[in-house]
């Protein structure tokens, strides 16, 4: 369970300060997957960084499983926009990076195999396709066996086939592992495909402009249904009316 109450984040101080998030409140139930969309530069990533404990709120409260977030939590994993792989580490070293940083000796081999990366453990990121890099980024987060998964545009800049693969993968993992997830995206179809609820944010500074219920979500086949198309059209309308 994630509770955000009146979150405000202001970058800088004094005259040059820039408000990124202004009084944002949201709630994500345990085992729920929600998506967050909004105009580009509206503060979506800032929200995610606060949830991950990387950024301190200027005001407001953020709680994960009832505990105030005061720093990085071991049960929260973050998937970065371009996967954030370290080019000087092999696939295995990248996948086990978060584990090692936390002093854990577990192996990520099983996770890598599950994500179809067996046999690539000793390769460097520069030797992988873009889609494989994203999967390594996902493996790094999964290896931690997190209860909360935060995803920052995990399919940005991918071709549409690879994008759908990664989206299906995330959906499958959510079913299998049962994490609480927040997915930040600027892709409307992705927001509808992966969000049980869709939080539409306003332009900067970010507030919640609207919450769209999306009960049909949860099956890979949802993509082909008329409800899906209708939800995407509705979302497009909401975002358009929101000055995006």
């Amino acid at each position: 369970m994630i509770e955000v109450d009146g979150l405000t984040v202001v970058y800088g101080r004094g005259e040059t300060s820039v408000p990124a998030v202004a009084g944002l409140s949201m709630e994500v139930d345990t085992y729920e997957l929600v998506s967050v969309v909004g105009p580009s530069g509206c503060g979506k990533s800032t929200l995610l960084f606060v949830l991950a404990g990387l950024l301190r709120p200027t005001a407001g409260r953020v709680r994960v499983h009832g505990e105030e977030v005061r720093g990085v939590r071991r049960d929260v994993a973050l998937i970065l926009q371009d996967a954030g792989l370290l080019p000087w580490k092999t696939v295995r070293q990248n996948a086990e990076l978060a584990l090692r940083l936390q002093g854990r000796k577990d192996s990520a081999d099983q996770v890598l195999a599950d994500l179809g990366l067996a046999g690539f453990e000793k390769r460097y990121p520069s030797e992988l396709s873009e889609g494989m890099k994203r999967r390594v980024g996902i493996a790094r987060a999964l290896a931690l066996q997190p209860r909360v998964m935060l995803m920052d545009e995990p399919t940005a800049n991918l071709d549409s086939i690879t994008r759908e693969h990664i989206q299906n993968l995330i959906l499958g993992l959510w079913w299998e592992m049962g994490f609480t997830g927040v997915l930040v995206t600027h892709d409307m179809e992705e927001a509808v495909f992966l969000g049980r609820r869709i939080y539409v944010l306003s332009a900067r500074p970010a507030r919640v402009a609207e919450v769209i219920e999306n009960p049909g979500m949860g099956e890979p086949g949802y993509r082909g249904t008329p409800e899906f198309a209708a939800q995407v059209a509705h979302l497009r309308q909401v975002l358009g009316g929101n000055g995006a």
Binding site: L54, V72, L78, G84, L86, Y124, S126
Partner: protein, 261 residues
């Protein structure tokens, strides 16, 4: 295998060209001025063989001295440069200081260094370390300034400590540029070594080094020139060692889309 062979071949070819040029210049000078000015490669090689004992010991001394100086410059300069480049506040306060001190040639301070450290091994090392230290600091600082933010976020989001950020991101990210800078400054370092060994040493013998060797045989052109060749080979040795070190420590740079260059 073919590539290694071809590379070895190109090195051999380069050696051939250098010797050919050298021979041509000394022949030309001798023809124009009607006396021997630059000893030919053959004469120099003979002089080297004749004095191989002294020459080898001088080479060994200089090589060890340069190695120690390089190691000290790295041990002191790398942490400082990385911290100044990566920590914004340090950058603000220390960068002006570094840029003020960086262009100052230690040679100009020889007298003071000599007075401060005496006429011993220490002062010779200090001169070379001073020159290399700033090269390393400036290279490390420059590279650490442009670390990809998502790499830092990747380790921070897993709860990395400050030390772990340096260990897993800052150091490996900057190592290629720092090693390249070190390779480039081998030339400068060898020059400083020569100056330190000629200006700050008195006797030929153990601890003299190639600089002293060259200076001592000033009036025996062939032997002196053999010492110069030794100095050039010393530079080449460190250049190659640093390149191999980069290939070993930064293997990731040489794989993948960019191709093994």
């Amino acid at each position: 295998m073919t590539r290694t062979f071809r590379q070895a071949l190109s090195y051999l070819l380069a050696v051939g060209v250098v010797i050919g040029l050298w021979w041509g210049v000394s022949w030309l000078l001798e023809t124009i001025r009607e006396r021997e000015i630059l000893p030919t490669p053959g004469v120099t090689f003979a002089a080297a063989v004749e004095n191989i004992g002294t020459l080898a010991s001088a080479f060994g001394t200089s090589a060890l001295r340069f190695l120690i100086a390089l190691a000290v410059a790295f041990l002191l300069g790398l942490p400082l440069g990385l911290a100044v480049g990566f920590e914004r506040r340090l950058d603000q306060y220390l960068s002006p200081l570094i840029y003020l001190l960086y262009p100052m040639p230690p040679v100009a301070l020889l007298l003071f260094l000599y007075l401060a450290f005496g006429l011993g091994e220490v002062v010779r090392l200090v001169v070379v370390v001073m020159a290399l230290f700033f090269q390393v600091v400036v290279a490390a600082q420059g590279a650490a300034k442009y670390i990809v933010p998502s790499h830092v976020t990747a380790v921070r989001s897993a709860g990395a400590t400050r030390w772990q950020i340096y260990r897993h991101v800052v150091l490996p990210a900057t190592l290629p540029s720092v090693l390249t800078a070190a390779r480039v400054s081998v030339g400068l370092g060898i020059t400083m070594l020569y100056i330190a060994e000629t200006k700050l040493g008195v006797l030929l013998g153990p601890g003299g080094g190639l600089g002293r060797f060259i200076e001592y045989y000033t009036f025996r052109g062939d032997i002196s020139l053999a010492g110069v060749v030794g100095l050039a080979l010393l530079g080449l040795l460190f250049y190659v060692v640093l390149e191999l070190l980069e290939r070993f420590l930064c293997r990731w740079k040489f794989v993948g889309a960019r191709g093994g260059a």
